[in-house]
Amino acid sequence: MAAVRVEAVLAAAEEQEAEKRRSITVEKELELEYDLGNLLAVDRNPPPAAALRGAGPRREALLQALARDNTQLLMSRLWELPAERAGGAGGPLVAQLPEPTFRLPREKPPPKPRPPTRWEQFARLKGIRRKKKTSLVWDEQAKEWRRRWGYRRAGGDPSRAWLAEVPAGADPEEDQFARLRREKRERVARNELNRLRNLARAHRAGSAVPAAPLHPTGHQDRDELRRVARVARVSTASLGRFQPRLPKESAEPPSRSGGKKRRFEPLLGNLAAERSRQLELLRDMGSKKPVLDITRAVNKQLRQEEAEAAAANKGKKQSKRGKRGRRQQRPGRSGKKNGTRRQPQQQKPAGGGIGGR
């Protein structure tokens, strides 16, 4: 008896709920697909084609009814999202939208990270880090905080400097103001040149090996097109020998090395030169002392050490190591040039002894 009553009560409650919700329930064959981040709903049910064929207000009414049903479903989903009252108790009800799921194409390709500049590479190798500078500097003259550079900088406007000291070893007749101006122009030009060089390097590095043969949206420059055209010409069965050429294109086949020639001596040419070269080679191979370019080896070792140290001591102060590293490297900096020239000079007396047999 009690069980039946409980069931009846539950059934009645359910009916009441259904009654309440009747105004907002919509019957659909297939469920809609929702993308709440975009406020989007997609209805896959085929619409009543026959009914919509006839023009006029009936069609409009049908379309409106369909729209009302779909909108009701979408709104129910939106109102079920977690909502809160923005701006206190009396504010408007605001719902948190999820991320949009419908994949739409981008406007522009994603940004590429730019390759490090020459200075940035050097700094990374040495372990030099940026010193944070204050934006304001104390100006003793004006007794206030002024900018480091720019409008009203500390130390006055450099273009209105009324005094230019003649440095110790300079020509007394020289115009110092002109010299300062010239040096500034040179500095600006050098900086601009370096900036453009870094840009060119970055651009070259970016297009060194095109992964896809050619960028589809037409951002191809002349060199890339030429390179790709060359590859396309050579990829025939006869390696491009019978490919038709454009009227102004060069007739001979382009070298695969791309212009960098490596010259080989003719086989039966200068016998004396060949003999001396072979004997030198034998002497170097047979000598007890190892042939070592000291400066090159030292530089290599130093660079390796510095790179390791920079990688290891990332958190610690770098100033000491930087000074030490720079001091040690100075004598060996031009070691490459000196080393290659020094070697034949050193060995010549010994070679003369053997060669003169």
Binding site: I24, L39, R44, P47, Q64, T71, L74, P92, K108, P216
Partner: protein, 304 residues
């Protein structure tokens, strides 16, 4: 800005360039509405109404531009570059293609997709005399009809229409402000676009009952020519950079009941030296302490 050969000399110029350069999270797409050489009244009205819907993320070009987008796209690409718009709507009219609208989008200032639609019935905003919703309302988009899934061209059209009318992406939205709905029905080779204003009526429970009132522009469209992007270009344009993926939170897990668990990794502790609560009664009295120390080292006395 990174690859600029001419560096900007003013902050304003720098801001201008920064707005237009490729970014991780992109700006809202702008649309440009262009009139062709022989645009008639209907097409002009359509463009004006779409502009009203898409304000402020649209620009209308007042003068007529004599170009044919399907033959030559350079003019469109030039406009796109100048005004930084990646969506466009080009209207024209001739005997062969009356009331023609070309809707399209760009990728990297080059045309990605273009679809030509013919307008058959057009009811403007002005013709329907009732209250409109405020400018800049984010519309709800509803697509009805199985054609939008079955047919490849219709699928691209759906993607284009969503892109066009979507508006800015927002993290949260005011529920009472959901007033505008755009409904697209694909039936019988035609696409019916209708716009309604949403009225929220009381219902028995929390979710309100919806009533619609026909408001804005309504168009009957027929698909004509298409110029869709190749598959690999489309895939390239869909590619999202890795930085946009949400970072995984480590050492946090959830169980079925919704409880959040966290993990803390500790080093090995010497339990004998653990700092416990101080119980005053158990405190060592000085007499006991000295007895325990026994042969304690005396304090080193300083030499005078």
């Amino acid at each position: 800005l990174i690859y600029c050969y001419r560096k900007p000399k003013t902050k304003r110029a720098k801001r201008f360039l920064e707005k237009r350069e490729p970014k991780l999270n992109e700006n809202t797409k702008n649309a440009m509405l262009i009139k062709g050489g022989n645009a008639n009244l209907t097409v002009t009205e359509v463009l004006k109404d779409i502009y009203a819907v898409k304000k402020p993320f649209a620009v209308v070009y007042k003068r007529k531009n004599i170009t044919r987008p399907f033959e030559d796209q350079t003019s469109l690409e030039f406009f796109s570059k100048k005004s930084d718009c990646s969506l466009f709507l080009f209207g024209s009219h001739n005997k062969k293609r009356p009331n023609n609208l070309i809707i399209g989008r760009m990728f990297d200032y080059h045309v990605l997709d273009m679809i030509e639609l013919g307008v058959e019935n057009f009811v403007s905003l002005k013709d329907i005399k009732n209250s409109k919703c405020p400018e800049g309302t984010k519309p709800m988009l509803i697509f009805a009809g199985d054609m939008f899934d079955v047919n490849e061209e219709y699928r691209r059209l759906k993607s284009l229409l969503i892109d066009f009318f979507r508006g800015p992406t927002v993290p949260s939205i005011r529920l009472a402000g959901l007033e505008y709905v755009l409904h697209f029905t694909a039936v019988d080779g035609k696409i019916y676009m209708r716009s309604y204003k949403v009225l929220l009526k009381k219902s028995g429970c929390k979710i309100p009952r919806i009533e619609l009132e026909e408001m804005g522009p309504s168009l009957d469209l027929v698909m004509r020519r298409t110029h869709l992007a190749s598959d690999d270009l489309y895939k390239l344009s869909l590619k999202q950079p890795k930085g946009l993926k949400p970072k995984k939170k480590k050492n946090i897990s959830h169980d079925v009941f919704g409880t959040t668990y966290g993990r803390i990794h500790m080093q090995k502790q010497d339990l004998s030296k653990l700092q416990t609560r101080k119980m005053k009664g158990l405190k060592k009295r000085p007499a006991e302490k000295s007895a325990e120390d026994g042969g304690a080292t005396p304090k080193k006395s300083k030499s005078a």
